[in-house]
């Protein structure tokens, strides 16, 4: 029983990262209809910013998260405004192509700047945690989960309670109608992508705390973001939170299947994804639009 509880906790904690990775991806996909293959690269840029600030200035990694967010927002805004906006009216698959190209550019620029060394952020309190009998709750993943939830809540607030958020929702509902009521589409699109990038940056900061990063380390996260967003259901921040936590749980429980269960973690996750898509395309939490 204690083991089961521990696994649930580990799953939820792991899910924190997936929530952070998923919300930005889901926002860009849901609102702009862009499947952002450069998401993983944006995540890792956030990781490198956190690492750089931690190494050079000894800043606490969690305090660097706002810096990640702002820097990535600016980068994301510029990418959308300068590049991605140019193909918004092209067929869907073109966003695959374009963002794949962007991913290649970003990853290799990181490789030029930072080299291929593995970088990791390990603050003094890393590895420590609360203990309740045999159950352990480590600080770093716990704070990461908190940060991810906070990030999602902030994003939800922004989308539902602010002017630009309402504009973004209007775009998601009907782009052309949104333009008719006077929304500056180019700006709103860039803001949306910027927000997605900012979320990716925060996720990257958290990821630098749990693993060693290299310029190519972001690619798996693009795949996982897919799964998380679909599991939860496209179009709502809260759904992505559920999807991320569910994905963490699935992964941890797949790993703890005795024998070679854990090598099928991806197969199980994607199998589940296909199952969800076929039986309930709106996701666990989503509404059909």
């Amino acid at each position: 029983m204690a083991n089961f509880v521990q696994l649930v906790i580990l799953g939820l904690l792991a899910g924190g990262i997936y929530v952070a990775v998923g919300v930005g991806f889901g926002l860009v996909w849901g609102v702009l209809n862009i499947v952002n293959l450069a998401h993983g690269a944006l995540v890792i840029i956030g990781g490198y910013i956190t690492w750089q600030l931690f190494t050079a200035l000894h800043l606490d990694p969690f305090l660097t998260l706002p810096v990640d967010a702002v820097a990535l927002f600016v980068l994301g805004y510029a990418l959308q405004r300068g590049v991605i906006n140019r193909i918004i009216r092209a067929p869907l698959l073109f966003t695959f192509l374009l963002t794949f190209g962007l991913n290649l550019v970003l990853v290799n620029i990181l490789l030029l700047i930072f080299g291929s060394d593995f970088r990791s952020v390990t603050p003094a309190y890393a590895g420590k945690g609360f203990e309740f009998g045999s159950i352990v709750i480590p600080y770093v993943p716990l704070i990461s989960l908190g940060a991810a939830i906070l990030l999602s809540a902030g994003l939800a607030f922004l989308l539902n309670r602010t002017r630009i958020g309402l504009a973004i929702n209007a775009i998601a509902a009907d782009r052309d109608a949104a333009q008719l009521v006077g929304i500056d589409l180019r700006h709103a699109y860039a803001v949306t992508y910027g927000l997605g990038a900012a979320c990716a940056g925060v996720a990257g900061g958290l990821i630098a705390l749990i693993q060693a990063i290299t310029p190519t380390a972001g690619e798996p996260y693009t795949l996982q973001a897919f799964v998380v967003v679909i599991l939860g259901g496209l179009g709502r921040v809260s759904a992505t939170v559920v999807g991320g936590l569910a994905f963490g749980l699935v992964e941890v429980f797949a790993q703890s299947i005795p024998g070679s269960g854990s090598v099928f973690a991806n197969a199980i996750a994607f199998g589940l994804l296909v199952l969800v898509l076929v039986t309930r395309p709106q996701g666990l939490m989503g509404r059909l639009r």
């Binding site: 092209a90 698959l93 073109f94 197969a267 994804l273 296909v274």
Partner: protein, 360 residues
């Protein structure tokens, strides 16, 4: 599908003839490497490295053209077609390495197994649309590779496991030539299938599905059957390429035959050349493959980058590749085949028009 004026027809014919000449050269030049040709003092026009390049190009022509059947003609953005390549490769690989079948007997089963698998997963998957189908097919692609690598029975890997499959080296004179022509035949087959499709009932049904699935169904198109047929056909061709690859490459494992990057590359090629057309994906495959090799510095025509150290050269090459993709996507949204079709000319006005059409 638009009627072209006479002058456009003429231009189109010129491009077709030029393409045919190029293809004939590519297919015949390797023959100059034969001993008989060499002893007759025929100049060497293509060596083993060029077969290797050309065989790879033919392989990508098959993959991109096959993807075009489901992704371009039917309009279902399949994102996991590499699964069929891998299944084809493993089918042939298993039959040769484990069951000791001869290669030419094992090869025909590669497309059959791949198509059967596609039909099986296609039934539920093809009910999904748009990005959902893309993601689900990607999921299948990832999951299949993982299962093939890790499935054990009684403690022993069923499909060679992580060590992969080593096939005996196919002993034949002029091995490189043999696989080049085999893969080229597969490429020609895939193009021929596409050409036939676009003139057949099947092709019209699929395009109707792409343009409006509901309208197609009330006009009597059995959409499920047609979509599954397109998916299976794409899978069969891709599986055939995989089957040839397995014996050509000798070594088969997950890294080799289920690379996720192929999913993206084959789509890139089809889009770059022009989706939904007969020759577009093949053109895209040739261009993108040569571009990648050119930037990698492996072609005879090479280039130097000023202010870039030799250490940074490969990295900068990747950055340039990425930038080129971005530029092409933005400025040539209908693929380069558009310039050869006779309807449009490459000009500043064309670039500006494409930019305006797709911009926000």
């Amino acid at each position: 599908m638009i009627a072209t004026a006479a002058s456009n027809r003429r231009r189109q014919r010129i491009f077709l003839i030029a393409g045919a000449i190029l293809a004939a050269y590519a297919l015949l030049a390797p023959l100059t490497s034969l001993d008989a040709a060499q002893s007759a003092n025929v100049p060497l026009l293509a060596d083993k490295f060029w077969f290797q390049i050309a065989t790879n190009i033919a392989m990508f022509i098959v993959m991109a053209t096959a993807w075009n059947i489901i992704g371009g003609i039917t309009g279902y953005a399949a994102f996991g077609n590499v699964a069929f390549f891998g299944i084809g490769a493993y089918t042939t690989g298993m039959l040769i390495a484990k069951a000791k079948w001869p290669f030419l007997l094992a090869l025909p089963l590669a497309p059959v197994v791949a198509a059967a698998f596609a039909a099986l997963v296609g039934l539920p998957l093809l009910r999904l649309r748009g990005h959902y189908f893309a993601v689900a097919s990607l999921g299948v692609g990832v999951a299949v590779g993982e299962l093939v690598q890790n499935i054990d029975y009684a403690g022993q890997p069923v499909f060679g496991g992580a060590s992969g499959l080593f096939l005996p080296i196919f002993r034949i004179d002029n091995r490189g030539l043999f696989f080049f022509y085999l893969m080229s035949a597969a490429a020609a087959l895939s193009i021929a299938v596409t050409w036939w499709m676009l003139r057949s009932r099947l092709g019209y049904g699929l395009i109707a599905i792409r343009e409006n699935e509901e309208a197609a169904s009330v006009l009597g198109v059995n959409t499920t059957a047609y979509k599954v047929a397109a998916f299976a056909l794409a899978a069969a061709l891709t599986g055939l390429a995989g089957g040839i690859f397995s014996q050509w490459n000798v070594f088969v494992n997950q890294d080799n035959v289920f690379p996720i990057t192929y999913n993206i590359q084959m789509i890139l090629m089809a889009l770059l050349g022009g989706t939904g057309t007969v020759f577009g994906p093949a053109t895209g495959a040739v261009l993108l493959y040569l571009l990648i090799q050119f930037l990698g510095g492996t072609l005879p025509i090479s280039f130097d980058l000023p202010f870039v150290s030799s250490d940074a050269r490969p990295i900068v090459a990747q950055v340039i590749l990425g930038l080129l993709l971005v530029v092409v996507v933005i400025f040539v949204p209908r693929g380069v085949i558009d310039f050869f079709g006779g309807r449009t000319r490459l000009s500043v006005a064309y670039l500006r028009r494409s930019l305006r059409e797709t911009s926000l």
